[in-house]
């Protein structure tokens, strides 16, 4: 206690220097890589790819096969990226699957029943979704209940409303048809449905770079727009998380809301916006799939909330918040798509998918816990 009780005696600027900790090891490259939250998902993707390369039919890894995999992966991925941001922000949203169905219903309603033009219907759908997401967020913030419970309630409320609403709108059916015809043609539809980059693919086929039919049209005519949305959102979310002020606030809000508040981070606003964003991601998936299918039904998005959260966890998100990555959720969703579609290319029963799903989740959580201890130096 000599130093503690007599610090004024020594020149402080020099003595403090002596406190450098010689026990800290140099940061190795491995530690740096280990510190990336998406490491698990990337390793998982490599393993799954090796598995299918050795067991599946070669056509799985053709261009057409890849599109088959990426198409469902992209729809799940859009949800997973939003779910990942929300999880990093410290909250859950179990209502996203039901939100897909509900957003599909109101989108179909605006378009078919109200007869609104496509752009207006899309804008209105996003607005309603954002409002519901904001309601979720405000309920969680104001009641201080766990978001798990609040959004579980909305899982049932929105699913029920979708069923009731569809029956009311169609006079007893749980499917609302006629979206395809009402959507019309034009730039707005092309942004939200069909394939993109068709010119490029024709050119590639003409130059014998990709496979084509005897008549000269390519076997894959373009990239489904949902895949482009998926990639675009993954890049945007990663940029926001890692390079912007909002990203730092998301990490802070999820890491420790109190500490964040004390440092001047508007935690409540961050969380509300994240809930709105998640709901809008659900609405985007609804719009993308409803226009392509030409109809909407009450089972749309069924159990997608669990798959999205699992993809986010595989992508390195901690269930406790404050840690994770958007690019990890991106890879998590691709793993999902690859396994669910890939099993049909193998001689395995495709119902193994569920077993795989549970196993992967367990492995990911264990791995994440291990990584967190590494990162924080917790023992």
């Amino acid at each position: 206690m000599v130093t503690a009780s007599q610090p004024a005696a020594a020149s402080p600027a020099n003595t403090v220097k002596a406190l450098q900790d010689e026990r800290l090891k140099e940061v190795s490259l491995i530690t740096k890589i280990m510190r990336r939250p998406e490491l698990g998902a990337m390793a998982g993707l490599v393993l799954v790819t090796i598995f299918f390369l050795s067991t599946a039919d070669a056509s799985m890894f053709s261009l057409a096969g890849l599109m088959n995999i990426l198409s469902p992966a992209s729809q799940l991925g859009i949800l997973a990226i939003a779910a990942a941001l929300l999880m990093i922000g410290g909250e859950f949203d179990l209502s996203i699957g039901s939100m897909v169905a509900f957003a599909g219903l109101i989108f179909g309603g605006f378009l078919v029943l109200s007869g609104w033009p496509l752009l207006l219907a899309i804008t209105a759908t996003f607005a309603v979704a954002a409002l519901l997401g904001g309601l979720n967020g405000q309920l969680v913030i104001r009641t201080r209940l766990p978001s798990f419970i609040v959004t579980l309630a909305f899982l049932f409320i929105l699913r029920g409303l979708s069923l009731v609403g569809l029956k009311w709108a169609t006079g007893g059916s749980t499917q609302l048809r006629g979206v395809g015809e009402r959507a019309g043609d034009g730039i707005v539809r092309e942004i939200f449905s069909g394939n993109a980059l068709e010119g490029l693919f024709s050119w590639l086929a003409a130059n014998n770079i990709i496979a084509k039919f005897p008549n000269g049209t390519p076997t894959v005519t373009g990239v489904p727009v949902s895949i482009l949305w998926f990639i675009g959102l993954a890049l945007l979310a990663t940029w926001v998380l890692l390079r912007t002020r909002a990203g730092n606030w998301i990490f802070a809000a999820g890491g420790d809301a109190n500490a964040a508040r004390n440092s001047g981070v508007p935690v409540d606003r961050v969380k509300t916006v994240l809930f709105m964003l998640t709901a809008c991601a659900a609405a985007l998936v609804a719009i993308l799939t409803v226009i392509d299918a030409g109809s909407t039904d009450a089972r749309r998005g069924f159990q997608k909330e669990f798959e999205a959260i699992i993809a986010a966890v595989i992508g390195g998100c901690l269930l406790t918040g404050g840690y994770g990555s958007a690019i990890g959720a991106f890879f998590g969703a691709i793993i999902f798509g690859m396994v669910s579609i890939g099993l049909t290319y193998t001689r395995f029963d495709s119902d193994w998918f569920q077993v795989f799903l549970g196993g992967m989740l367990l492995l990911a959580v264990l791995f994440n816990n291990f990584i967190r201890k590494k990162v924080t130096g917790e023992r």
Partner: protein
């Protein structure tokens, strides 16, 4: 106005419903001065800090910052006025990197909206320099704060407040959870901050820690100040007795052979 203290409160009263948490507290802190606020559990230390840092609004009494009367609506207001509070355990987020913690809530942005981004290279440089200045060698500013020791975390939190232009630092029991070496590290840093001309309010219930760095001591008991004493006026034992409410502790201390 140059001579007026950085912070002065006169007869500050705070009621929570029927509970009187503070019943007329007066104190002041000047430039380059460490005021130790001592008090046992329930003395009203927390309420006083929270009132000073803008979390609570005083029921009555005067609160002057550099001679001007103020009424803070939020902790942010207090922060903008140069009054930074470092809470014992709620200052840092363990999973986030040192840099991200250092700039949390005050990230410097570049570029044009909506393409505004945080210049993390600059942040890393600043963090490394500031940490070096207080003698913590952060080789990698990307390492999580969770890997730092408790004392280092306190020092990072204090360095952050100083870097962002605090005039008064309120330290809420910065040493209570720390070991001996860690404590001396924090106390040395407090001494260093004082020599820069900042005012420090050091809250503790450890008289030894207080006596080590304090210039003046205000003892709080049951929501009231039991007086303020300069270091030259009071001995460490007297301070201890004052804080514990006198006789009782002395009796216990004798029973235990003077070890308390």
């Amino acid at each position: 106005m140059a001579d007026s203290p950085l912070i002065e409160i006169r007869n500050l009263v705070k009621h929570f419903g029927s509970v009187i948490a503070l019943s007329g507290v007066s104190m002041s802190v000047g430039r380059g001065e460490v005021l130790c606020l001592l008090g046992d559990n329930g003395a009203g230390k927390s309420t006083l800090i929270k009132t000073l840092s803008g979390v609570h609004k005083p029921t009555s009494g005067e609160y002057l910052v550099e001679g001007r009367s103020v009424a803070f609506a939020s902790p942010r207001d207090a922060l903008d006025a140069g009054i930074a509070t470092v809470y014992q355990d709620l200052a840092m987020i363990p999973l986030m990197s040192v840099t991200r913690n250092f700039f949390m809530g005050r990230e410097p942005v570049k570029g044009v909206w909506p393409f505004r981004y945080v210049d993390f290279d600059h942040c890393d440089t600043v963090t490394r320099e500031e940490m070096h200045r207080i003698g913590i060698d952060v080789r990698d500013p990307h390492q999580a704060v969770g890997t730092l020791s408790g004392g280092e975390r306190q020092c990072v939190a204090i360095a952050r407040a100083v870097y962002f232009g605090a005039k008064v630092l309120i330290l809420d029991e910065p040493t209570s959870a720390l070991g001996v070496a860690q404590t001396s590290m924090v106390l040395k840093y407090i001494h260093q901050v004082r020599s820069k001309g900042l005012g420090v309010i050091f809250i503790t219930h450890n008289v030894r820690h207080a006596y080590a760095v304090g210039d003046r001591f205000t003892v709080l008991n049951r929501g009231k100040t039991l007086g303020t004493h300069a270091k030259s006026e009071i001995k460490i034992d007297e301070l201890q007795n004052l804080m514990a409410g006198g006789k009782e502790l002395q009796a216990v201390s004798e029973e235990l052979g003077g070890m308390v």
